[in-house]
Symmetry: none
Subunit: 188 residues, 4 copies
DNA sequence: CATGAATGAGGTTTCATTCAT
DNA sequence: AATGAATGAAACCTCATTCAT
């Protein structure tokens, strides 16, 4: 019984993610979601209070996922050089492997009317922050502010990951160079 | 016959930009646009074929504007260090001074269903590319690929500019540090 | 869940028929139909995919009805003279008794942009065709082509039935004479 | 100057006729008409008071045209047999040669909301009526009522003319047989 | 006379949501 | 819990017509 429920909720969430990529937030309606998820429109309202809450719930869930993904690929034994490489590469890989989720999260967070009324993003980012802070303490990376360190590590790689004008191998070359740039900039 | 009214077209565009920031792409309807612009909904269709074309037209126009803005603040006499500072600062200033336009462009370009069927962005970005290429030729900045140079110069600063958790002065400190990081990373 | 309401579908169809007579195909809007049928405009779209399909569905249904009507008034024991009389009179009566339906069907079938994309009319007309063929086999009526026999039996009577310049009794006289003419022309 | 006007009026009328065939009465808007006619929507209102009057004007003009066409092909020296043949054939030819006009007139006259408020059809039909009356006086055709004679002569041939399931040559055979049937039915 | 701009009204259709089963 | 039916509101867009030049 519980199992059934979880599957329905999951299929609704997946339908949303899929449709938002294909059709954007506008163009993604409850009835389309229901059709793709294989349920009735009324069923959506059993799992989510309304459309806005539904989108926020899904955003909350998936916007944390990336941090778990990153933390799972990092461990205590890695030194600075390797750690930067793994963080940048993992972020790149996550985007490429989860295009739909990444697109949903990006669309949601660039839309003030959606993201504005939504308070999340605290747990996951904190863990990453702690990781960075520890590296600074250990004098592995330079003593820049955490915000800037995160910005340097995670923002430029987005530009590579979403560039569909380039081939996979071209992007790989860019990624390697980018890792080098970031390592040189941040490591002591 | 009456002449097509430039003021009307302008006020429609401004209404779109304004509403997209406040309400997002979903939630910005033709009738709301018409109301804000002070015209009839039917009038919108005199200036734009349909809603999609309207958004694409506006995107085409404003996505170029940022490049003009940057190029206007740069000149031949600037050496590498100053040039990086001006580019990063100008981009930051543009975002802060044109929040509505920046939000529109970001929302549009992160939405595949909108940006996908829209081929633009060639003139402006080329001029910036030439600027960067020249700097490499003059052995002012390191010989990294253009894509990565642009990514390093323009992406991390976004993170600072859109961070509304910080005060204006806190952001200024971050920006100054970020400029330093980028200069150190790119200048020979 | 609620069951689809046959009453509702019927009242929508009747509203269409009624409005098309009063206002023509132009001038018959979904919202008018909904108002006359006592439902919401959105409800119409539960029963019909869109306006065009709705009109075609209704046409398909009613364009067959006339043939059933005719066949119900005919039987095996009737000989040629009587059969022609019954066919002509019944067609006349059908038109007079079902002015709205007849008007709908006529308007629909004279409008190429509607009728063009609509393939129907096969079952009913076939039964009439068989009836005519049998009469020819039995050497009751002359050996003209089926198309022409149908044209002679059913087309001139339309002219009488739609002639509102004449009184009911005048039309009755015309009808009687017309039956005579057709009998003389077709019977051996 | 006058010449110019007449041409514009003519091109508007032709645009209406053309569009009504292609798109039906619904689907034929003033702006489409203007586009096809190569004029401004406002210009249409110089030549016609409004849309309804325009359609009625065009109907009045073209619904008479058929009678002129028929009368031009008939002369005093023709005897009954030939006269019936010429009338039936000419009507058939008119329909095939002027499909657009015929379709317009049929659609208009089968639509009560259009035809109802339109009083015309007097001159042309009278001449045909006189022709028929004369034939009865000369004891060439039987003494049936004029209404029925017209119905027999002109209605069945419509069925042949609009039958696009048949080839041109098949229709020719049907037409010849139909003429024979009508001659036998009406001639003394 | 002729026009493209302009518009209020209304077109078809879809929306997010609720109802009744 | 789950559903398809039902709907008022609103979406996009076009209409017939008038205005200003």
């Amino acid at each position: 019984m519980r199992k059934k429920d979880d599957e329905k909720e999951k299929s609704i969430k997946e339908a949303v993610i899929k449709l938002i990529l294909q059709e954007g937030f506008h163009g993604t309606s409850i009835s389309k979601i229901a059709k793709v998820a294989g349920v009735s429109p009324a069923t959506v309202y059993i799992y989510f209070e309304n459309k806005e809450v539904m989108l926020q719930d899904i955003y909350s869930e998936y916007s944390e996922e990336i941090f778990e993904y990153l933390l799972n690929r990092v461990n205590q034994e890695m030194r600075g050089r390797q750690l930067i490489e793994v963080l940048v590469k993992s972020y790149y890989n996550y985007i490429r492997e989860h295009k739909e989720i990444f697109s949903f999260v990006e669309q949601f967070s660039t839309c003030p009317s959606l993201a504005g009324s939504c308070r999340v993003e605290i747990k996951g980012i904190n863990n990453i922050n702690n990781l960075i802070a520890e590296m600074k303490n250990n004098q592995v990376i330079r003593d820049y502010s955490n915000d800037n360190l995160l910005a340097i590590i995670f923002y430029p790689v987005k530009a590579i990951a979403v560039n569909n004008h380039k081939s996979e191998s071209e992007r790989a070359v860019l990624l390697q160079e980018m890792i080098q740039i970031i390592q040189d900039a941040l490591l002591i």
